[in-house]
């Protein structure tokens, strides 16, 4: 059940997308986070391969400056406790050799070679496509409003798309998981607070391109700012960390203050910053912060059948596959469910075949099989008509009810480039209009339509 028109538009869309190694978790304070992060790091390697998800494993450098070395070294100890391989201190000379984009005042860093980076929205899409392929049914625009409990057992959920019967309900509602939990009458005091993180994203063609995942050492005041080259080759800087009021769960706006702060922090972290004119986007995501940072992963007796995977804050993305196995085992043990392996389980899913990044010889072969590969719709990211059409087909296939321009953007990257869609958004909209059979003005951007009617509509009123 997903309340939005598409999958992956919650916390999992706008985050730093680091597959953390697990050396930043205190095993005695957050044992589950420590364990599942490490397991998740291993599992993502397999999942990314099987599900064809853009990912890379450059390793990370937690850079320390004057006075920060002691704090940073704490993570070496944690790495030992959590058995994270290869974590060590590197000093200036080696540091600059590893990544020459680091600022000159850096003294050293904690190097963690197993850190990786993923395309978060594409990862969610890939997992869901594979799930549907293996028999899961997806309902979008299905906002869960009520959990029905009879005789201390869950019976189903009331949603904006009707009542759905169920004997086991897993609450993985991110920022809203406190609300859903309350619907089932459990953990009534449990709250998930939004903590905002803002980012700068730069164009691909800037000179500053960190090789490793770089970040500043967390201090009591700051959580550490990252400077990374994303899996698609863009420099990204962020996030901030700012607690918002409990009811500000859809507040994903950026702020002048937050962006200013990021700029200053990264001036220290990096040798040089690209000019501000090379920023192609600023955005913000909300972390789902549970009390004391404790994930709530539990299978309840009362009501029987209600499982929480709630308040999954960082390193939630890195841990996600391990959380899934953990929840599965909980269900198996707690509810004595007899799970049998599917006979026709398909572990594989492949990505849309793209023009970008492919040798021209291969592009030529693609076009000969399908001429729509030869029509470039998005010039910045070299996205062809064929890719847009395939994205539409895939959205329909997983059960998306409303094909949105944003949905196409996250599947094809059309509109994610330098011009931010001013050249291609209308072309994508035209294709949706044509392939879905809605008129152009009714095509949905994200949560609202692209236009309001035909040109004369206002004069006719």
């Amino acid at each position: 059940m997903e309340k939005e028109p598409d999958v992956g538009w919650g916390c999992s869309k706008a985050n730093t997308a680091i597959i953390h190694p697990g050396h930043e978790e205190e095993p005695d304070v957050h044992p589950l986070r420590a364990r599942l992060c490490k397991e998740g790091n291993t599992l993502w390697r397999q999942w990314a391969r099987e599900l064809d998800i853009p990912v890379k494993w450059p390793g990370e450098l937690m850079v320390f400056f004057d006075g920060e070395e002691k704090t940073a070294k704490k993570y070496i100890k944690l790495a030992k406790l959590n058995k994270i391989p290869g974590v060590r201190v590197v000093y200036r000379d080696e540091l600059l050799q590893m990544d020459s984009s680091i600022g000159p005042s850096a003294l050293g860093a904690i190097y963690a070679p197993t850190a990786g980076m993923i395309s978060p929205f594409e990862a969610v899409i890939a997992v869901v496509e594979n799930a549907v392929d293996n028999g899961v049914r997806l309902l979008t625009e299905a906002n869960v409003r009520e959990v029905k409990v009879v005789d201390k057992r869950v019976r189903g959920v009331e949603t904006t798309r009707g009542f759905i019967e169920a004997d086991i309900i897993i609450n993985a509602a991110g920022l809203y998981s406190d609300k859903v939990s309350r619907m089932a009458g459990v953990n009534s005091g449990f709250t998930v607070r939004p903590r905002r993180g803002e980012y700068f994203l730069f164009d691909e063609n800037v000179k500053v391109k960190p090789k490793k995942i770089l970040h500043t050492t967390p201090t009591p005041i700051t959580k550490g700012v990252y400077a990374i080259t994303t899996v698609h080759g863009n420099l990204m800087i962020g996030p901030t960390a700012e607690d918002l009021p409990i009811d500000a769960k859809d507040e994903s706006s950026t702020s002048e203050k937050g962006l200013e702060y990021l700029w200053k922090e990264s001036e220290k972290l990096l040798k040089e910053l690209p000019p501000r004119t090379k920023v192609i986007r600023t955005f913000a995501g909300l972390r789902p912060e549970p009390p004391e940072g404790h994930w709530r992963i539990e299978a309840h007796d009362d009501p029987w059948g209600f499982v929480n995977a709630a308040g999954i804050r960082s390193p939630g993305f890195a841990s996600a596959p391990a959380i899934a196995y953990y929840v599965l085992n909980l269900i198996k043990d707690k509810y004595s469910v007899n799970l049998a392996k599917k006979k026709r389980w398909n572990p594989y899913r492949s990505d849309i075949v793209r023009v970008k990044g492919r040798p021209l010889q291969e592009v030529d072969e693609l076009i000969r099989k399908n001429p729509e590969y030869g029509e470039i719709v998005c010039c910045c990211k070299t996205v062809s008509k064929a890719e847009v059409v395939k994205a539409i087909e895939r959205m329909k296939k997983i059960g998306v009810k409303t094909v949105t321009i944003d949905g196409i953007k996250f599947r094809t990257r059309a509109g994610l480039g330098m011009c931010q869609g001013s050249f291609c958004r209308w072309r994508v909209a035209l294709l949706i209009s044509q392939y879905v059979g809605v008129s152009l003005h009714e095509v949905v951007v994200k949560n609202d339509t692209y236009g309001i009617g035909e040109v004369k509509v206002l004069l006719n009123q």
Partner: protein, 419 residues
């Protein structure tokens, strides 16, 4: 059948590219014109307002009419062109050999040419480049996008509009929305003067009672599903928003008309040098860039307000290409740098030889009244009642005049008060 070897390849079929291809063909060059979209014409196709062609055709035409006039010329000389063909990359092999890789529905073509005329136009600045923070909901459009929706596909984006930027594009779009019954709540301009022609301020805003806020900036967009309002603030002399002056304008649509930027990515990848003021390439009087045999014209060269100049540049680039072919390269000359003097923001071209007629395109930094534009080295002066950044200053110098400056090391252009 397509031939794979050309004298010249023209990239982008807006007015600059079409004019370049026509002229090149007239001069006897073997050229091909390549366009990404499924139709020729570029930006003017979507401009249903008049103001095109006064200089070139001596008639006031709409953008669409203007482009159709060019099509007629094109048909007469018979220009070869490719539609739905996206120039993917350019490879520089030698001064007289470049490869242009083109993605087309028939496959990938690798075309060879001695010269290139690059006329791929400009892109519009978006909200993230002009420091607008806040939400990112539906209801935010660039002016060009809104124009395409309204005038090519017949749909209207919204009904309560705030326009960011008072250049001609912003002003024209304000009127366009007003004409369709939308309420244009405000046009917001960062500078203390309007960015567009006075004629357009009168005819597009005043005639429709649309308020213009000078020295103001939109600082935030607010809205969950769709734009609900914008936050606007006055700016100080350094153009920084003054927090205490913030106020809100409720609206459902934000149209960004905050300037264009030459679209040069592909050339920068092969070492193009750009001018930070035009954000276009550094060129000589043939509009040749630092990459031998690569010429640039139109909005990819410098943002033009008049299509007439765009066409003129396209033709000049074609003449440059012919000169290049005749001499196996533009012969090395003692290029004189063109220097910006008082109140000049930029001037194109950047280098001249002094051996042939030259047309300069310049913009001033700030508006000024009663001035003299001068090029002291040749003793050229022109009294102007008014200069404004919105209006390009175009100066044509003959070879004869330039001969008088043959010993000068530079040519400079400046604006001086007229007393």
């Amino acid at each position: 059948m397509l031939e794979l070897n050309y004298d010249g390849i023209v990239i982008g079929a807006g007015p600059a590219g079409i004019a370049a291809a026509i002229r090149a063909k007239e001069l006897g060059l073997k050229v091909v014109l390549i366009e990404n979209r499924d139709l020729l014409g570029g930006i003017p196709l979507q401009c249903v307002h008049p103001g095109f062609g006064l200089h070139y055709f001596r008639e006031d035409l709409t953008g669409t009419e203007f482009i159709y006039r060019l099509f007629d010329k094109m048909d007469k000389v018979g220009v070869e062109y490719l539609l739905k063909s996206h120039v993917h990359s350019i490879e520089f092999i030698a001064h007289n050999e470049k490869i242009v890789n083109v993605i087309t529905p028939k496959g990938v073509l690798s075309l060879k040419a001695k010269t290139l005329i690059y006329t791929a136009g400009a892109r519009e600045r978006h909200m993230f480049e002009i420091n607008i923070a806040g939400d990112r909901p539906a209801g935010i459009y660039t002016a060009g996008e809104a124009q395409i929706l309204m005038d090519m596909y017949g749909i209207i984006p919204g009904k309560e509009i705030v326009i960011v930027g008072s250049g001609d594009i912003g002003l024209i779009m304000a009127r366009r929305f007003a004409l369709e019954g939308a309420k244009v709540k405000a046009v917001i301009e960062l500078m203390y003067y309007p960015g567009g022609l006075i004629r357009n301020v009168v005819q597009c805003l005043q005639d429709y009672n649309i308020p213009l806020y000078l020295s103001h900036a939109v600082t935030r967009v607010v809205g969950k599903k769709r734009v609900e309002k914008v936050v606007v603030a006055k700016v100080d002399e350094k153009l920084r928003p003054i927090k205490e002056t913030e106020f809100e304008i409720p609206c459902d649509t934000v149209v960004l008309a905050a300037g264009l930027i030459p679209n040069l990515d592909m050339l920068e990848k092969i070492g193009l040098l750009a001018d930070p003021y035009t954000r276009g390439p550094i060129v000589n009087e043939f509009l040749e860039t630092n990459i031998p045999g690569v010429f640039v014209a139109g909005n990819a060269l410098v943002i033009n307000d008049l299509v007439d100049y765009v066409v003129e540049q396209g033709e000049l680039a074609a003449e440059g290409a012919r000169y290049f072919l005749e001499n196996d390269g533009i012969p090395t000359m003692d290029w004189k740098p063109v220097v910006k003097g008082r109140n000049i923001r930029f001037v194109v071209p950047h280098y001249v030889s002094g051996r042939r007629d030259v047309t300069f395109y310049a913009r001033v930094q700030y508006p000024e009244k009663n001035v003299i534009v001068t090029i002291p080295e040749v003793g050229w002066r022109m009294k102007m009642f008014n200069v404004r950044p919105a209006e390009m200053v175009r100066v044509k110098l003959s070879k004869r005049l330039l001969d008088g400056a043959s010993s000068a090391e530079k040519i400079s252009i400046e604006v001086a008060p007229s007393e």
